[in-house]
């Protein structure tokens, strides 16, 4: 399995707190899930991977290239797309314009001359991404008027429209109804046929139903890494993380 993303001894310190502590891991093909109890450092690690935060130590390589010092937008242009835990879209724009902006970033993104509406190639790419998430019928709607579940799907569609090699999904089904969750899981599974996915998720049914591989993070360190079945049986994981669910 070739690694699309490699982390080597990555750490992040906030004052006296070591939120991520010497994490070394690789992300390969298919769906990889990153789980761990609250405060384990999952979102911080996502921020380090996507460039929203600089690392305190360690190196990050993406598709063989060292991206440790690169900004978020340059990582995105290399093919790393990411959704946010608190869903964010361009609320004042239409659903189609949201996806259009994402799709345009690979080709003359700041062209001041040509009318955007005449760029049929970008429009087609945006519509394709919206269709993959089942949002094409809502293309003309203002993004700010969408239901929460559709906002989450639009975020994924925007990430897909950038044609990523790796999709980082931060709690994609958080706050969704069971029906919306089922719909979203099916669409993520379909996406994973062509795009590698790294997902942070608290819903264990979703994690164990989707992931080909699970990485467990606890107190900023990698606690376990392996297939879902092995992770489910791992006593350290059960104690550190799954035990919390049993207790609940």
């Amino acid at each position: 399995m070739s690694a699309v993303l490699e982390l080597d001894g990555v750490s992040r310190v906030f004052g006296g707190l070591r939120a991520v502590d010497g994490v070394t891991l690789t992300v390969g093909s298919g769906i990889t899930a990153l789980i761990g109890p609250n405060g384990a450092g999952k979102t911080t690690l996502f921020n380090l991977m996507s460039g929203l935060l600089p690392v305190s130590a360690g190196r990050i390589r993406f598709r063989g290239q060292d991206i440790t010092g690169l900004s978020a937008h340059r990582r995105a242009r290399l093919g790393m797309a990411r959704t946010l835990q608190i869903k964010q879209v361009f609320a004042g724009l239409t659903v189609l314009d949201n996806a259009w902006i994402a799709a345009r970033q690979r080709h003359r993104p700041l062209d001041p001359f040509r009318r955007a509406s005449r760029d049929r190639v970008t429009r087609a790419a945006a519509e394709e991404a919206l269709d993959a998430m089942g949002l094409l019928p809502l293309a003309a709607r203002e993004a700010g008027s969408l239901a929460y579940g559709d906002v989450a799907l639009l975020e994924i569609a925007m990430a897909l429209a950038t044609r990523p090699a790796l999709l980082l999904l931060d709690e994609p089904v958080c706050g969704m109804s069971p029906a919306e969750t089922e719909r979203t899981v099916a669409r993520i599974r379909a996406v994973s046929a062509t795009t590698d996915v790294l997902i942070v998720e608290h819903d264990m049914d979703v994690v164990f139903g989707l992931a080909d591989r699970v990485i467990v993070l606890a107190e900023g360190r990698v606690l376990a890494d392996g297939p879902p079945a092995a992770i489910a049986r791992n006593p350290q994981v059960r104690e550190a993380y799954l035990g919390e669910e049993d207790a609940a």
């Binding site: 996507s50 993104p109 700041l110």
Partner: protein, 322 residues
């Protein structure tokens, strides 16, 4: 009929009215208002500069007067000191504003919200006081006055700004072109990148948008627009003064923008027109007329937070169902 078609029709009507204004006002024996209309067009362009930053990119600038002043002084120094013709002097004014904005923008666009607003005021104040001190270049407190060269002088055909109607046509043509360029910009990929940065800079960065670069480009274009307005204003008054570089002048552009509708193309000039007309009608009657300006602005912010044009667009969307 769609909202877009209605707005296009209204824009065409507005342009038609502006084109017949010289004859209409002459027929009404109100030629004075032609110079007021000329001034409104210039200040409308200046408001568009503040709007590009605030309405389109989400950066509230209280420093656009700096670039307005560079445009003014560029023209005045070009004509008075270097003996340039009208067009090269205008080019010098706009270029000076763009270069200044490009330099200030490198620092300013790294900041947002109140920090951005403060740094723009600081730049503005630095150059305001410099303009007052550098008397040999700027004329200091007295400013620089000059005689405007002809717009065109081809044998028997001489067009001069001393004729109010010619001056109006000259300003209308340039302002209309500047707004046409802005309209194109808004509908381009760059315009959408502006909107993305305004709506959510973190999200924009995660999609591959170079947020700082986009902000810098907007800052430079806005500086150019302010510089163009300043160049026109210098030619209109045959005068350049540091007073117009003071940050309160920038504040007026922000008020016009908010009143007219931040983020809309024609809202800011509408806001400028409304408040300049209020000034012209009331300043001779009641010295405290700025109170009315304040009350009007507060009323719009409370009852139509998207401004006059924004409120109109919302009403139109409701009526047309889109």
């Amino acid at each position: 009929m769609s909202a877009l078609a209605v707005n296009r029709g209204l824009t065409a009507l507005l342009l038609a009215l502006l084109m017949v204004a010289p004859w209409l006002l002459a027929w009404m024996e109100s030629e004075f208002w032609l110079t007021v209309l000329t001034e409104i067009l210039i200040w409308g362009l200046f408001a568009a500069s503040a709007n590009l930053l605030f309405g389109q990119v989400g950066l509230l600038s209280f420093g656009q007067a700096l670039y307005f002043g560079f445009g003014m002084y560029g023209v005045a120094i070009g004509i008075d000191r270097f003996g340039l013709g009208l067009w090269p002097a205008m080019g010098l004014g706009v270029a000076a504003a763009i270069v200044m904005a490009a330099c200030a923008g490198v620092v300013a666009v790294r900041l947002t919200w109140h920090y951005f607003a403060i740094i723009t005021v600081v730049f503005s104040l630095i150059f305001y006081f410099l303009a007052l001190r550098l008397k040999p270049i700027t004329g200091g407190d007295d400013g620089l006055s000059f005689a405007a060269p002809a717009i065109m002088d081809l044998g028997g055909l001489r067009l001069s700004l001393t004729d109010d109607a010619t001056q109006y046509w000259f300003v209308l043509l340039i302002v209309a072109l500047a707004f046409a360029v802005q309209a194109r910009l808004r509908s381009s990929a760059l315009g959408r990148a502006f909107a993305a940065v305004r709506e959510g800079e973190r999200k924009a960065a995660l999609l591959g948008i170079d947020v700082l670069r986009v902000r810098w480009i907007a800052f430079v274009i806005a500086g150019g627009l302010a510089g163009l307005a300043g160049a026109l204003f210098a030619l209109y008054g045959r005068y350049a003064s540091a007073t117009h570089m003071y940050y309160t002048v920038s504040g007026e552009a922000v008020v016009w923008t908010v009143l007219g509708g931040a983020g809309t193309l024609l809202g800011p000039p509408i806001g400028a027109a409304l408040l300049i007309l209020v000034r012209e009608e009331l300043s001779g009657i009641w010295e405290h007329y700025p109170l009315i300006v304040g009350a009007l602005t507060i009323a719009v912010v409370v009852f139509a937070p998207k401004g006059i044009a924004g409120g109109w667009n919302a009403l139109l969307a409701r009526v047309t169902g889109r």
